[in-house]
Symmetry: C2
Subunit: 454 residues, 2 copies
């Protein structure tokens, strides 16, 4: 039903490549979907991939290049001369994919590749698309679409579709425009098929349409497409002229990227890495958060060192240092990630900042009282020190409340200043809460131990 990559398949393929057996390679590739051929890339070195991919016919070669991971593609393109990139791949690609590929090239190579594209309309579309910021609707859209005039009838529409259908892989909607190319409506192929051939486009098209402007950010594009269950979204310029369309496959890719980015942020990884990446790439993705953790730990050491005397006297003060630090960090991550997720999916509601913080305070207090009661009971029965019991349960209440409110406030504040609120989910919140918690616990413990005398 669909292809499953296996170790054996890869070994066989590598054998075929090392034998330079072109016929066998072509036969193998013919059975596969472009997405499968792209998936194989990870298992090959650049030379092997080049041997294989240059054997593909144009359409499939273009599709495979479009399906490659960004960093793989960049490496692969470095191994190819500009005219091969243009004539073997770019010429056959959808304009949006072609623009993405070219945008990743160094500036001087961009012009070189563009100059080798034989289809001038394609080259023009790509140059148009390169103007848009890649994180906006303009950066996502393709120029391939079918637009029809309001005044046409169904027969003329179908003739138009026949004329340019070859250039467009998938057509779900036909876009209806007026004489000035202003978007007026959409017409699904279904409606076109069930309407009689003499019907006017104006009478069967849907006028109440959802579109996005070219400069809308991609997160917003995703939210709109998802909310309204759209498979394609027309893109208009500032005066309403139809300039492109975004298809669901690109929207799904953005969704996936966004989800991965947020996930990485909360788990403290700064790059999109996979277990198959090189050791130094994996290290580079992980060291920044660890360095922040290290600096946090150094501050923590400073805080503790200022209580060195007290600790020497009352060593049991140290017992709950890890508990307090962990709870502050955990609560902060929870609070911030609930807000970040709500902001990302536009489901945060309309409460004022004050009302939100008040609610978070209530949740925090409830959590804090439950947790503090439990640790009170544990410490009371297991450690023979009232000072310790009071310190840990008292500090836990303050730490949980502080970490919750802080974890809620920071992402909301970042969002207000148009900074990605997900920045607040990782190291920053955890480290600040660790240190604050430590300080609260030790100062409370110092006071309690000194007064209750251990």
């Amino acid at each position: 039903m669909h292809f499953e990559l296996s170790k054996k398949y890869i070994d066989d393929l590598k054998k075929i490549i090392s034998d330079h057996d072109e016929d066998a390679a072509v036969m193998l590739m013919e059975e596969l979907h472009a997405a499968d051929i792209a998936e194989i890339y990870d298992e090959l070195n650049v030379d092997e991939a080049r041997f294989l991919y240059l054997l593909l016919d144009g359409d499939k070669a273009g599709d495979v290049l479009a399906e490659l991971e960004d960093d793989d593609r960049e490496l692969f393109m470095k191994s190819l001369p500009s005219d091969v990139i243009a004539r073997k791949f770019i010429d056959y690609m959808d304009s949006d994919d072609a623009a993405d590929v070219i945008a990743d090239l160094p500036d001087d190579r961009q012009e070189e590749v563009l100059s080798h594209i034989d289809d001038l309309e394609q080259a023009g579309d790509i140059v148009d698309l390169l103007k848009y910021n890649e994180d906006t609707a303009g950066g996502l859209m393709a120029k391939e679409l079918i637009s029809v005039k309001e005044s046409w009838d169904v027969e003329k529409c179908i003739a138009e579709i026949r004329k340019i259908a070859d250039e467009i892989d998938e057509i779900y909607y036909v876009y209806v425009v007026n004489e000035d190319n202003i978007l007026k409506g959409i017409l699904s192929l279904k409606r076109l098929i069930i309407a009689g051939s003499k019907k006017k486009v104006k009478d069967i098209s849907k006028e109440d349409i959802i579109s996005v402007k070219v400069d809308v950010e991609e997160e917003e594009v995703v939210n709109i497409a998802r909310k309204y269950d759209l498979v394609a979204l027309p893109v208009i310029d500032s005066i309403g002229r139809l300039v492109g369309r975004i298809t669901i496959d690109d929207i799904v890719d953005v969704m996936q990227e966004e989800a991965e980015k947020d996930y990485q942020m909360v788990s403290g990884i700064t790059e999109d890495v996979e277990p198959s990446d090189k050791i130094w790439v994996l290290t580079r993705a992980r060291i920044p958060w660890l360095l922040i953790g290290l600096v946090g730990g150094i501050f923590g050491a400073q805080v503790i060192s200022s209580y060195e005397g007290a600790l020497a006297e009352y060593a049991s003060m140290a017992f709950f240092i890890p508990l307090i630090a962990a709870m502050g960090g955990n609560v902060g991550v929870q609070s911030s990630s609930i807000i970040v997720q709500a902001l990302a999916s536009n489901s945060a509601g309309f409460d004022s900042l004050f009302k939100r913080l008040l609610k978070e305070l209530a949740v925090a207090l409830l959590n804090a009282v439950i947790l503090a009661s439990l640790i009170f009971l544990f410490s009371y029965f297991f450690y023979d020190s009232m000072a310790l019991t009071i310190s840990v349960s008292g500090a836990l209440v303050i730490v949980v409340v502080f970490a919750s409110v802080f974890g809620t406030f920071v992402p909301l504040a970042l969002n207000r200043f148009n900074i990605d609120p997900a920045l607040a989910t990782g190291p920053f919140i955890t480290t600040v809460n660790d240190i604050t918690g430590l300080f609260i616990y030790l100062s409370l413990a110092h006071y309690t131990f000194s007064n209750l005398a251990g």
Copy 2:
């Protein structure tokens, strides 16, 4: 271009509802997409929502119900009698959405609602769909689809589409089956339109199709649809008969749910919550991880208490307790989440467990040496204790390496036993690494301090 919910809009709407002004409410709702009307639900109480939603015409009412969040829908349905649910909503819904709605009802109400559905074909479809596990292709698919016979010509296909197009919102593909309803190919509406009316289906349909079996898990369905850029995926039974189709909007919803679930897991939240949820729901979602953290903290306290004597003698041993605990936790979360993400997107590659762990070991050692060198330098210059400096840097190397390998191993092991590897990203890894780190650090510190005498 699309609707933006505002505080003012909600206030106006609430006024209209409290005035029981049906005409004004109908007019307001007419302008809105079902997804917008569903979004308003969060801002209303159940009585207000019922007043509003019962004014909608059938198709829109069904769409709105389908768009509601699961927990909102369950509450809303409780406020309605079974015949209203059946005749006002279910009758107008797609079979997959209808089955989802009914599946959420208590068993006795399920039968009651089913008995009130006027459209017997719809009722039959729903009963069929309820048999499938909701996390499989069968649970995602709808029965509404257009199937045509191989032997038909284009004209007959179009006649068939005209006949049943009303029942199906969106049609992108027509499915080609043989006399036994075995899926043989697909035909896009585009191909249907550009082909002449006398062409045979067999000659223009695509035979190399991607389909899924009913019992395939939804994660797999998502991966297939995303990989091959499909907007609809036919579902077949064990002998290849066409039984339904899954559309991209449902696939996008599953993607979103999966991403949110993984995100919640790594940030320590056990339910799908939003800031607008009730205080006790938010607390309930957060307390489990905090309890695990608390138990971890208690174990940590036990570990430290066994070094109480040493701490009383060498109080500076305590300085780096938070650093070691934080680093163990952070490294573990990083390692496990890289693996979890790769497993989720099927990009984990084919390396053996041993090879993976070996690679993780290399990454870990590189990280560990960098971090330990830094902390060595800091401690050497800022704290006048060689014992402390050796303890913290030595322990850091061991902790980082242990946490990395453990964080990589656990999700891989869970995955091998078909347990969701994301379980390993949250509290479990962090807590185990915290305690292990503490133990390593304190035992090393105890040894070093005793031998170097502070």
